[in-house]
């Protein structure tokens, strides 16, 4: 259906979307995690053990990846209840580093050589976007459910939520565990598409990237993670696409012309496989935070698309 290159771009974008939703759930209760890459690692290795070592089919591996990460998530979620803000950021960062060290030293799954020969998932694209669709429907429903409201209340003011009868501990633990579960799915999918993972695959920069997906897209609407992850994953492709029309300009126009140098510089900047493109990517982030710190999408952005109009504050 798609050519090979576009397919792999879409697959990674889809995995990024799932990972972004894994950050979004705890964020909905005000918990900020830099450790989602760690949960992805747990999911990837758990799923890899089930399929590659035990020889069981992929759906079981996917489930195992999610459940293992989810259980670890609840385990991390307990201490996370006590702290917030930058402390939680550091706690989850430390967690991700510890996962990395364990992966690196665990010989059963290859240790420093990495986990090799994970079976390749043939129809990864379908699996990934099916899960993305399920997640969107789930979050659309959650938004209007009492649980979703409770989560928003906890984000706004924990004390007030508690007074209103929200079980803050349960809501926060649920959110953290569910986020980890979703991250585990993302990790399992990644492992079975790339067929190889190691300790560097899920390093803390990946966790940072996941946080970025959500905050650039907008963390206060369930469309934000989808949009942010898609936008940032495809941005390099957009930049490259900008280059193609430049090739239509006849050489005689630029050759020896004073703007030739400008042409060359711009062309090189938009070139794929080029660190210069990443410089643009970084600058886009800075400029975006200056112009639109709330993220690209807020609840009000999506309001015109609702059938039932409701008043809601712009978060």
């Amino acid at each position: 259906m798609f050519d090979e290159y576009l397919r792999s771009v879409l697959i990674f974008a889809g995995i990024h979307v799932i990972a972004a939703y894994s950050f979004y759930v705890p964020f909905k209760t005000g918990q900020i995690s830099l450790g989602q890459a760690g949960f992805m690692g747990v999911g990837a290795y758990a799923a890899g053990i089930v399929t590659a070592k035990l020889g069981l089919p992929f759906p079981l591996g996917l489930l195992a990846g999610g459940v293992a990460a989810g259980l670890v998530g609840v385990g991390v979620g307990f201490p996370a209840l006590r702290i917030r803000g930058i402390y939680l950021l550091l706690l989850t960062l430390g967690f991700a580093e510890i996962v990395q060290v364990i992966i690196l030293t665990w010989d059963y799954t290859g240790g420093a050589q990495g986990f090799q020969n994970i079976p390749f998932l043939e129809n990864a694209l379908v699996w990934i976007y099916a899960i993305v669709a399920v997640l969107i429907v789930f979050f659309a429903r959650l938004e209007r459910s009492s649980l979703g409201r409770a989560m928003d209340a906890v984000h706004e003011d924990e004390m007030a939520a508690e007074v209103m009868g929200v079980d803050v501990v349960r809501v926060k633990l649920f959110a953290f565990g569910l986020g980890a579960f979703i991250a585990g799915l993302a990790g399992a999918l990644f492992a079975h598409y790339s067929t190889y993972v190691d300790s560097v695959t899920f390093n803390i920069l990946i966790g940072v990237e996941i946080l970025m997906f959500v905050l650039v897209g907008g963390g206060f609407s369930y469309w934000g993670p989808l949009f942010g992850a898609m936008f940032l994953s495809l941005l390099p492709e957009f930049l490259r696409a900008l280059r193609d029309p430049m090739e239509l300009i006849p050489v005689s126009w630029t050759e020896n012309a004073p703007w030739n140098r400008v042409y060359e510089v711009v062309y090189e900047f938009l070139d794929f496989e080029n660190e210069k493109r990443l410089i643009v990517y970084g600058l886009v982030l800075v400029v975006m935070m200056i112009l639109r710190p709330q993220g690209l999408i807020t609840r009000n952005t999506m309001r015109p698309f609702r059938f039932v109009q409701r008043r809601m504050h712009d978060a």
Binding site: P79, G85, Y87, I102, L205, K276, I279, V284, P293, Q294
Partner: protein, 291 residues
């Protein structure tokens, strides 16, 4: 043997301290995790290297001075163009903005200097001194002296000058400081400049110590310095100095007695235990409820 390891730990810890002081200064003033601080450290190392390579007359002192000037300028640019224009009403927006700066700096460095590891030339004559059972080299003495001098200078600046007092006041409360006539925006910029210059020094010292630098060296130091900042207590400058040295020693000791792979594990277990049981740091001088 133990004494020798402690000296190595002191070397490692000194660079952690210098980077962590910058973090903690900026955190104190802005409650901001300056994510790109590790990259400033990396830029410092490369500027130091190229000053030595480009100028025939340049010795290590010129290299350090050059690195300080460039990283200080970088700190000014980051503060003015990537941190101050961002609306503080969104607590995570400045963090994302500095992540953007991280990406820009790292890829600029890869672009300009190449992605590979580069050798750092020997700029100080290696002389080994024996003191009883211990061996200490001239390079180690130099690194330690520069690190301690910079920390002492910083302490004098924070403790004795008007600007230092303004920085301390701003860390306590922006509103009160502003009411008392402190130009808070200027304080923020100066804090970034000072913190970045310290990271620049640390970068050059790291190059001298390891005789090799890469554009990817920033991240590991940045993460370790975060642990140090927490160990010392968020916003606590003397705390960061002591905690950096402490962590350096703990890391060297665990690495030599338990193995290198255990080292990082140990460091982050310390981080997590600290977060859970003593979030105010070892010295417990200040409590900041949330970031």
């Amino acid at each position: 043997m133990l004494g020798q390891q402690l000296i190595n730990g002191l070397m490692l810890g000194a660079s952690y301290s210098l980077v962590a002081i910058g973090y903690t200064l900026i955190f104190g003033v802005l409650r901001l995790l300056h994510f790109a601080h590790g990259e400033v450290f990396m830029v410092g190392a490369f500027i130091g290297l190229h000053v030595v390579l480009w100028f025939a007359f340049a010795n290590i002192y010129v290299a350090i001075a050059g690195a300080m000037v460039v990283t200080a300028l970088l700190g000014w640019i980051v503060a003015r163009f990537a941190v101050q224009p961002v609306d503080k009403g969104y607590p995570l927006a400045p963090l994302i903005s500095t992540i953007g700066v991280t990406i820009v700096l790292q890829n600029l460095a890869i672009n300009i200097f190449g992605g590979e590891q580069v050798a750092f030339p020997e700029t100080i004559e290696q002389i080994l001194y024996r003191i009883g059972p211990l061996t200490i080299s001239s390079v180690q003495i130099f690194i330690l002296a520069v690190a301690l001098l910079s920390m002492a200078a910083l302490w004098l600046f924070i403790d004795r000058t008007r600007m230092g007092r303004a920085i301390r006041a701003t860390s306590e409360s922006h509103e009160t400081a502003a009411l008392l006539g402190v130009d808070v925006n200027r304080v923020v910029v100066v804090t970034f400049v000072v913190a970045s210059a310290l990271a620049g020094i640390a970068g050059v010292l790291d190059g001298v110590k390891n005789s090799a630098i890469t554009p990817h060296m920033g991240l590991e130091v940045a993460v370790k310095a975060l642990v140090v900042m927490l160990l010392g207590g968020l916003g606590n400058v003397p705390g960061a100095m002591v905690a950096g040295i402490l962590l350096g020693m703990v890391e060297i000791l665990t690495a030599s007695y338990l193995g290198t792979s255990v080292r990082d594990f140990f460091t982050f277990v310390i981080l997590i235990l600290l977060l859970l049981y003593r979030p105010t740091g070892l010295f417990g001088t200040r409590t900041i409820e949330s970031g």
